[in-house]
Each structure stands twice: as structure tokens, then as C-alpha cells.
Assembly symmetry: C2
Homo-oligomer: 347 residues x 2
């Protein structure tokens, strides 16, 4: 269950070269965005995060320039949401082949601009370069009140697990786009919005938070390792998963929970709350016009299990993450390996 994650080994190889910044409040990879103290007398800290896109465009997953721009911005904003930050804006670099024409550049810019408007923030600046391939990178910043810093750490047995909304649509979108590229998926099928407002509601109330951009099971695996706890997930799929996920999975004979195993997630927030703070959190959410979805509980131990009736089925989340690492370049094989894993555990 605690097998090594290949991705973490790569990150450690890089991070070992760097000194720990004395003004960073979070430990390495213990937060979706880095939390930086600016001044002892200033009552807020800076949240900063960076995310890049290239393979998602090259593979055809984000084929439309507008979508690529939108996803770049939202991926960065989602990391701010997970630390409960008030956004200050985004800087971007756009590298594109001259032969692609200025239309690509305009589409990318329109997608970035629309995403900024949607979450009420701005492009602060950036740069364009010419290159052989499209490459986008972004860096988002925001402010967080110092007393309510929200990270991936702080989970205790007894906490409840929530999602900010129905999950699985990111995985199903990737399934459709990459395994059946000839069949068009409508642009409106998957237009995720970073959960900025929800992040601000849960800050000071949730015990920990992480977004589901790499998939819900990936998120739970990371949180369980960081906090030394065990997650038991409910299997009430109509409550947890987006209706389109159930529909697509039924049509294809794929167990719907596998959409949570996909490495292409969505931008929901996965957060935990202590029982004594649960009511206050739900009340605040309700006042903001939002209903978090309770998806499971935290117990002592390690690993991630799914409760079906009386039984808890253990998931090998390290294997699930490492399948993604080795098979992302071959989507059909990736899906086949996940389906094989579901069969093995009988879910």
C-alpha cells in the first residue's frame, strides 16, 4: 500500500538540490500552492503556484486553443482555491510555432481571458515566444489570511471527507477524446471552473484540502501518505459522480468508480473536516449557495478503501498512480490496465 510513487521519486531528486526557503510556511508538497510570508507585520501571506501545458495539447486532449488557454488558467487558479486564497491574478508565457498562425495565439488568449473573468481575476502580464511546439505555462498568485492557512496537512482519524462537487468528468472527457478521437466531444461537455469561492468558504474550517486535478484517487493517495491516515470512500456513485460519467461508463461497460482513478481529473476540491467543525462548515457553504458532497471518512491506518455494503475493498493507489506514469502515452492500454485492476479487486 505504501509502495513508492515514481513521480515522487523524480520530485525528490530535484527538490534535494534546493535549500528550504525560510519564509515558506508549508513543507515541500504539503500544499497545492506555496504559502510565502511577505512581512511579519502584514496580516496576509502570498500564495503562489505554477502549472504548464504541452502534452495535453500535443495529444489532442485540449485540441482547441480556447480550451488550452482556459485549462491553463483554471489549473493554476484551482491550486489557489485549494489553499483558500483570494486571487491577485496570473502571469503566462506562450510559446507557439510561427506556422500555426496568429489565430492560435488569439484563441489561447481568449481562453485565458475568459477563465480570468469567470473567477473574477486578471492576467497581470506575460510573454510570447516562438518555438517548434506549443507550450503554455502560467503562474497564479493570491493572498491568504495568515490565521487560516489551509494546506494538505492536518487530517485526523474521525474527520469527514468531502468533495466540492460531483467528480469523474475529467477522466471521462479524457477517455472519450483520447480513445475515440474520431468521435467529436462537444466543447461544452467539460468546462471546469476552479472552486475559488468554495476554497474561501472552507478556509479556517476544513482540516486539509487538495484539488482533484490529477484525479480523486491520486488526491486521496497523496493526502493519506502526508497525514498517515486511512480513507474509506463511500460507493454511492450517483451521489459522488457526475451524471454524464454514469451514462458514459454504463454505455461502455466500464465501472464508473474508475473515473476517479484517471490521472486526468477535474478541479473539484477534496477536503476533510473535523466532526466538531462540520456543522459550521456546512452552514457557511449553504449560505454561499453551495452543497459539499460527503464522500467518506478518515480512520487510523494507511491506504484507501471503498466501502460496498459491509465490506471494504482496498485499492492499491500506488499501482493506480504508477500505471498512469507508464501508460499515459498509450490511452487504450491505460484504460485496459485500469479495467483489469477493477476486475482483480471485484469492483
Amino acid at each position: 500500500m505504501m509502495d513508492e510513487i515514481l513521480e515522487n521519486r523524480r520530485i525528490a531528486a530535484v527538490a534535494g538540490k534546493f535549500l528550504r526557503p525560510p519564509h515558506r510556511l508549508n513543507g515541500l508538497h504539503e500544499s497545492d500552492a506555496e504559502i510565502i510570508t511577505l512581512d511579519p507585520d502584514f496580516d496576509r501571506a502570498l500564495a503562489i503556484t505554477t502549472d504548464a501545458l504541452s502534452e495535453e495539447i500535443a495529444s489532442g486532449l485540449y485540441a482547441e486553443p480556447f480550451r488550452a488557454g482556459w485549462m491553463l488558467a483554471m489549473a493554476n487558479f484551482s491550486d489557489l482555491a485549494a489553499v483558500g486564497a483570494d486571487p491577485l491574478g496570473l502571469v503566462v508565457t506562450i510559446t507557439y510555432p510561427p506556422a500555426a498562425g496568429e489565430g492560435i495565439l488569439e484563441g489561447l488568449a481568449e481562453g485565458i481571458a475568459a477563465a480570468c473573468r469567470r473567477v473574477g481575476t486578471y492576467v497581470l502580464g506575460g510573454d510570447t515566444n516562438q518555438g517548434e511546439r506549443i507550450f503554455l505555462s502560467g503562474c497564479a498568485i493570491g493572498l491568504v489570511p495568515k490565521p487560516v492557512v489551509l494546506t494538505r496537512k492536518g487530517i485526523l482519524p474521525g474527520d469527514r471527507v468531502y468533495l466540492s462537487g460531483e467528480a469523474g468528468l475529467g477522466g471521462v472527457f479524457a477517455l472519450l477524446r483520447l480513445t475515440e478521437p474520431a468521435i467529436p466531444v462537444p466543447a461544452s461537455f467539460y468546462v471546469p471552473v476552479a472552486r475559488m469561492r468554495e476554497g474561501r468558504v472552507i478556509r479556517g474550517r476544513a482540516s486539509a484540502c487538495m484539488d482533484t486535478s490529477d484525479g480523486v484517487l491520486h488526491t486521496l493517495d497523496t493526502l493519506m501518505r502526508l497525514n498517515g491516515v486511512r480513507f474509506i470512500l463511500d460507493s454511492d456513485w450517483p451521489k459522488i459522480l457526475h451524471p454524464e460519467v454514469l451514462k458514459v461508463c454504463r454505455a461502455r461497460g466500464i465501472p464508473p468508480w474508475l473515473s476517479l482513478a484517471s490521472v486526468h481529473g477535474e478541479f473539484e476540491l477534496c477536503f476533510t473536516v473535523a466532526p466538531q467543525k462540520e456543522e459550521a462548515l456546512l452552514r457557511a457553504a449553504n449560505e454561499a449557495g453551495w452543497s459539499p458532497i460527503r464522500v467518506g471518512e478518515v480512520v487510523s491506518g494507511a491506504g484507501v478503501g471503498i466501502r460496498t455494503g459491509e465490506k471494504v475493498v482496498d485499492l492499491d493507489t500506488a499501482r493506480i498512480r504508477n500505471i498512469a506514469d507508464s501508460a499515459a502515452s498509450d490511452p487504450l492500454r491505460y484504460v485496459a490496465e485500469l479495467v483489469g485492476l477493477a476486475r482483480e479487486v471485484g469492483l
Copy 2:
């Protein structure tokens, strides 16, 4: 002289889609880093900048992973230096092909880490991705005291023009690496350091500042357009240019001033100072153990000229910039076009 710059047209096509952030103190492209107000009561503003590398690695210009990491970090820090910021650190994303091996990743990280140590700051966080090509992006942040915000604007006729150090080495490095790739250039030939300390010395004293990362003539062209002034550059090349530049250009029969026309610059600061503030600036520099190099003067009018004896030779800096835009993929032709231009103007 005021011909359109192709790069600016691309930037305008993108920027037109974005709303102006109300909390950004600088106008679009009027500053090397964006200056963002965090809070009316906080006495400092945030400086943020982003820069990416890909073609420099693909072309062999930054062939060594250590150099690529170093240059990525320094390019970002140099933008902070040009606004006089105290650095808070850097976030990075590294995309690399799995086949390249972990050695590449380690070399990149070592270069980034060494650059951070050199300027006394930190890697705050980041991300690694796998992709078909190496792409690096960085985003640096710092703080600037609000009363002394330093941008590219504020130059008046009568101001003096300075460089923080001898220029031209970036251009000559690119010349050697790209036009004679078979002849090795020692790693120590070109190891630029962002001028952080110098930026802090001139803030509150200089009238404007921009780094020379795209070459000195590119910098002067940008500053002249933004400020509606004319620059007259001295032609005392042994004072202005690095000794290695003079040596290489002499050996190859290339006019040494062309190293200032190269689009691959260095990380010197090009700044202006009003006559009544010049003495105080030079005294402060001297106390910091640094001697700025006076390279010319600001007059009313437009354009960039070089004074040789009694005569001022006008340079078509728009043409120089646009040559770089069209010919950067063909270094031999690029050099030939610049040499042709030098012959035309008789310099």
C-alpha cells in the same frame, strides 16, 4: 525609425483580450516585471515576472542542463533586478522527455539551485512533467518599496545613459555557439549574474531601467519608443564592451558594436539618470563597490544614434529587431544580415 516591431504586434494581439488589472501599477510592457499593489496599507508592492526557455536548449545554445537551469533562473531574476526588487524566490516547471534520463533533471536543478544561491534567494516550489521536448518556465517574485517604483518610463532629454557593466558577451557567446557549433566554448566564457544589488542601488535614483537580456540596442529601441526620446550612444567600445567581445570580433573581422545588436543579450541593467541625481547615484554605487559605465545621453527626438567623432550615425533599430525576428532560426544568415547593415551605415 518608428517602424513597427513585429514582436510588439504579436504582443498587442494577445494583450488586447485582457482587462487591465486595477491593482497593477505599471502600464503594459512599461516594466521588466509587473508591479502589483497587495494592500493599500502595506508599504511594499509585489514584483512578478515570468520567462520560459525551449528554443535556446533545442538550438544547442544552452546545451548543458546546468547552464539551462542557471539561465532560466537568472533571466527571471534579472527582470526583478530591473525594477529594483528584493527577491522572494522562484517557482519553476520542468518538462522533459523520460528518455533523456534523470541526469538531465539533476543538472537543471543544480543550475537553478546555484543561480538562486548566487543571488541569495530560493526556489519556492514547482512541478515536473514529462513531455517530448525540454521546456522550462520560471516565475520570480520580489518586493519593491512603493515610493521608489522603477519602471521603463520616466526618461527625459538631458538624462544620462548607463550600463551596469560591460556588454556584448551574450551576443558573442551566441555567435560562437551557433555559427561554429563544432568548436567548444568553455562553460566559464559566459556565466551571467542578474544585477540584483545594482537594481537596489539605483531604485529611487534612476529615472528608468530595463535589462539587456534581448541585447542593448533592443533595450534602447524599447526605451526610446516608450519615452518619446532619442538616445545618442558613445562609441568608446573598449569602455562599453567586454574585452572578450573585442577579441572575438577583431579575430573575425566583425564590427564590435554589432554585439549590442544581437538579440541574445546579457543581464546588465541599462538605466538613465537625471543630471541632478547623477552624483548621488554614482556615490551610492561606489559605496556598494560598483562602477556603472556611462554609455551615452538622452536628447529630444526619436531613434538611436552612435556618435563617432563629430558625426552621429543613425541606427534603424526597428530593422535590427525585425532581422532577429525573421532570422533567429538561421544564425549564419542572421550574422550576415547584421554585418551587411553595419556596412550600409559605415560603422
